[in-house]
Amino acid sequence: MINDLEKQLKSALKVDVPLDARDNLRAKVMSSIEQQAMTRKSFTRRRRFWRPQPVFAGAVLSVFLLFAGTAMAASGSHPGNWLYPLKQKTEEARVFAAVQDIDRAGVEIERAGKRIDEIISVVDEGKPEYVDELTGRYNDHLLKAEEHSARAAASGEDISHLEEMMSAMRIRYNGTMRIMLDKLPDDMAVAMRREMGDEPGDEQSSGSASGTPMPAPQAMPAPGMGGDGMSSGGNGGGSMDDGTSSGGGSGSMDGGMEAPDAGSGMSPDYGGDSSSMNESSGAMDGNGGTMGSGDSGAMDDGGESMGGSGSAVPQQPTSGMESRGMGSSDM
């Protein structure tokens, strides 16, 4: 019975689908679907376009963060650290990115400042073997800065601020090295002094010339600087009590100004003092010729009075930078 019932039900349940209904409905359905497909296609395209985006954006962000993090870590590195080459490359990229000579000079001066920081770091960390390399790099940066500045000046740019920056950087370097020499191993310190033409014998003579006690480290000439001016400045500095004014044995105003700070053991960061230095130099321009008794003596105010050893005769600067920034030889 069940089977027969099923057979009869099958027959009864048959539906003859009207052909027109099939066609009409197909047209209606497909039309609706086509409209929907337009939206869906654009959605699909958008989705396909956007779907990988979070992944892509995440990857880009990760790479960026990784790079930024590494670059940040590298910025604090110093020679001997595996990130140091990256730091160098980053700096070189900055130089490359600077289009104009005047900008490149600025970056090179900045790099020179970083080398000074690194010198302090490596010495403090007991790795003086890197000082030589860093000194060389420092010199290279300043030489490049001078080249770029010269080009900028040739093209009519005002490079006075660069000169001031370089001058300040040299002062800072000198001060730093004075302090660092104390911390270097003896043999290295001696070699360094010899390299700088600052032999103990010279100190002796300088000291006697100034007639004042010698500060332990002698002022060292910055690369390309007039050695006389700096060393005499150091002598003068040794005689200063207040550390704000000086009298150079050779009568060099700038040398006289920078020596006291270094001699007094202050942080050798002269970067911000360049203007005051120049002002002092300016004051000396007026007085240097008449001053200079051969004895530095005690000074009240380096900007107003000073002792010089008679080198009031202007000397030819070794470069435009020196003559302006350091003023070590033109007093």
Partner: protein, 192 residues
Amino acid sequence: MSNEKKELARLVKRCQKGDLEAFEGIYNRFFDRVYAYVFRQVDTAADTEDIVSGVFLEAFEKIDGFTWKGAGLAAWLFRIARNDVLDHYRRKGRWQETALPEQCDYPADTAHPAEVAEHNWENAELLDAVKHLSEEQRQVILLKLMFNFSNRQIAEVLEKNEGAVKALRHRAMVSLKQILEPVYQEDFPRND
């Protein structure tokens, strides 16, 4: 995998890539069955057309989510159709479940199956009897007898297991017999 299934798989894949012609292929393959299935439940051509078009539109919207893990495209499509029919009745508020009990055995005074088998019911009587089945029993009968769905396919449409489908089918046939018995008795009253 049969050729038909392979062809359907290709159509679905193309359709999921946005190929409208492929969807038309699916439509052509299933339209008659879906139409008949819906028509048997709502009776009017207008309602059937509305529901069928809705079924295919919904299928198109959801085709991206279709996978071959289940009982196949037909079961997936008929599940949509079933839900749309239910929605149709819910909207109209006139869905009526059958008053017949889910579980019923042959009554003692039931005519012998052989006798019943000899009777040819009118189609109207049979269709009317089907309408008195519970919704799930009716689904089993429609899907089994109209389209020869496997128990697995029916189970997917009803979202039940195959055992439940078997039980539903059995109960549906018993219920139909119960419903049809009085008709038979009226036409051919027993002489005892």
